[in-house]
Symmetry: C2
Subunit: 356 residues, 2 copies
């Protein structure tokens, strides 16, 4: 059966579902930038060329057996709400959601693999896995890359590697990243220090809401800045090693918090839960803040009656487009805040709290 | 059996226990200033004279049958904590709690009547009733005043009335007051307007934490400024009439809130409850703020599983001296905040919340 956009609405993406041991790492992601030989870069290609490339990608996915395991969507045929919905699920980029013109995305049923067509590059192949497993990400992404390459000639120059629209992606074309949840470092005001040393190690760290938003939430994405001059394996090893160190810092910060300010930490976790379970109006930014505290509370064994994947899923479901998709219609911000609060109560409230 | 200070700890004062129909009025209070003929005012009297007066008051209370219905406490024999505890229960004034020297208080078992000896005046007779019932307050206070006068000669001059240490109390010596809970006027920023008009009508309005604190909580006390040139009945009628108008304004403001910003009001009420039921550390001022919202929520029928007297009682029990009396020892602020949060959960939490 062909995948529909709305099928995703009641599906829990694979990367949200796992309880991984090193839980400071929420998810591991990789994306490859690839271009098709014989076509101008996406920005310069005409509608006909763009349609032709979409067809080529669709065909190779069909031939290699991928198409049947997911859905292929032409974005200019989707509503803006559906495109934002896919963006919120991390299946397409913001640019891909908001741009115009002939472009598409393939999404596999598990929401592990997505292939954007005619984004900045002709192909952007993305893989997300839950927790801290960049090596598995690399294996998966490598295998789908090989499948696609079996039917499509990539632009490749042996001295440089894969050619890309933006030179920063040239070479391996690989950007690997880990989404980290660092609430203890965040509470202890140690994020600045971490930020600094990571930048010196050739990696990039970004806040949840994008560059420059590092102080707005306890979620961060660490990724490689350079795609050239290293093999994919070296690049992945490097991120994995440094991310491992950051996670260790986070774990130490958690131990310190519990040793030195246990009462304050527990208070802030329970208050967050109290607000989540009782608010009738809540913005996404506020929900994210309290869900972050709740996640910490579950991981530290303070909150016992809520499971981690339910919380991780709420990070996704409470986003504006998701709220509107769940309601089946467009909504103003105030109305979304009400629906969001109700959804949170429904998912993690007690029975009495769900009823009212 | 003789009343002990600690008996009060597990007693719910009568004025806290009622569900009155006009619930914006929390309690009605009256106090009479009286001095004993033939003695200098309390500030000028020597220890011997002060002891003599305490004995005279004690004797007349015994003779008229009051003493057996309560306790007579010499404050210089009580610990500071016990004195603050009595102050928090509104049974003695702050001055009476913190002053030094020979002074006492009689408290009846229902905590309706208290008689301070050697406060600013030789006698300060106080009566508190729940809700809006100044006429009953006046009847009760009048009757105990008559009883005391049957055995003690008051300083009285027929042209002026009862003489008092401070001329503002001369005449009837009566100060009547109503404690009002005005959360809707408070939320709608209409307190300033009310304040202004009440002052023009010869009454005084004060914030919960005393003069000048009108913007810190939704609780207010309205009392008469003048004690001379009016009969007690006129004075009481005047406050009752004006208070009635303020209560009406509050009720209108509540209707408007529900009409115009129902979602916001409900949100703030549920959040307050969520914090009260989940916080692990809470200051008195914050607790008061959320209890105020919760009280509004119960009165408006939004919160249904908590009874009003339980909330009113928490206003008293969560005060610093009460927290320490309940724990049976002195505590630093941080420790009190923890104990306060636990007490609130115990009283109004759900079963699961009480356990943790």
């Amino acid at each position: 059966m062909k995948m529909e956009i709305n099928d995703l609405l009641f599906h829990r993406s694979t990367w949200l579902s796992a309880d991984t041991p090193r839980t400071a790492a929420v998810s591991s992601r990789g994306r490859l930038a690839r271009n098709i030989d014989g076509f101008p870069f996406a920005q310069c290609s005409n509608p006909e060329q763009r349609r032709k490339m979409m067809e080529m990608v669709r065909n190779v996915l069909e031939k290699t057996g991928w198409l049947i395991k997911g859905g292929f969507f032409e974005l200019d045929k989707l509503s803006e709400l559906d495109r934002l919905f896919l963006m919120e699920r991390h299946l397409i980029s913001k640019d891909h959601a908001l741009d115009e013109g002939e472009r598409a995305v393939f999404i596999d049923n598990d929401e592990v693999v997505s292939v954007m067509v005619n984004e900045e590059d002709h192909l952007r192949i993305q893989v997300i896995h839950p927790g801290f497993q960049l090596k598995n990400v690399w294996e998966t992404i490598n295998s789908i890359d090989d499948h696609i390459e079996s039917g499509i000639n990539y632009s490749f120059v042996s001295e440089l590697g894969y050619l890309t629209a933006c030179p920063t992606n040239t070479g391996t074309g690989l950007r690997a990243s880990v989404m980290l949840h660092l609430p203890a470092l965040f509470l202890a005001n140690q994020i600045g220090k971490i930020l600094n040393s990571i930048t010196h190690l050739g990696l990039t760290i970004r806040g949840f809401y994008g560059e420059g938003t590092e102080l707005r939430s306890a979620f961060f994405q660490i990724s490689n800045r350079i795609t050239l001059g290293q093999t994919e394996e070296e690049l992945i090893d490097n991120i994995e090693r440094i991310t491992g160190q950051v996670v260790e810092h986070e774990n130490n910060a958690r131990d310190n918090l519990m040793k030195n300010s246990r009462a304050k930490v527990e208070d802030s976790i329970w208050r967050a839960l109290g607000i989540l379970r009782n608010a009738r109006l809540i913005s996404y930014e506020e929900a994210l803040e309290h869900l972050s505290s709740l996640r910490l509370g579950i991981e530290m064994g303070i909150v016992k009656d809520i499971k981690l994947p339910a919380v991780t899923e709420l990070f996704i479901l409470t986003q504006p487009a998701h709220i509107q998709k769940l309601a089946g219609r467009k909504m103003e911000a105030a109305e979304r805040d009400e629906k969001r609060a109700a959804l949170i109560r429904e998912r993690i409230g007690r029975r009495e709290e769900k009823d009212v």
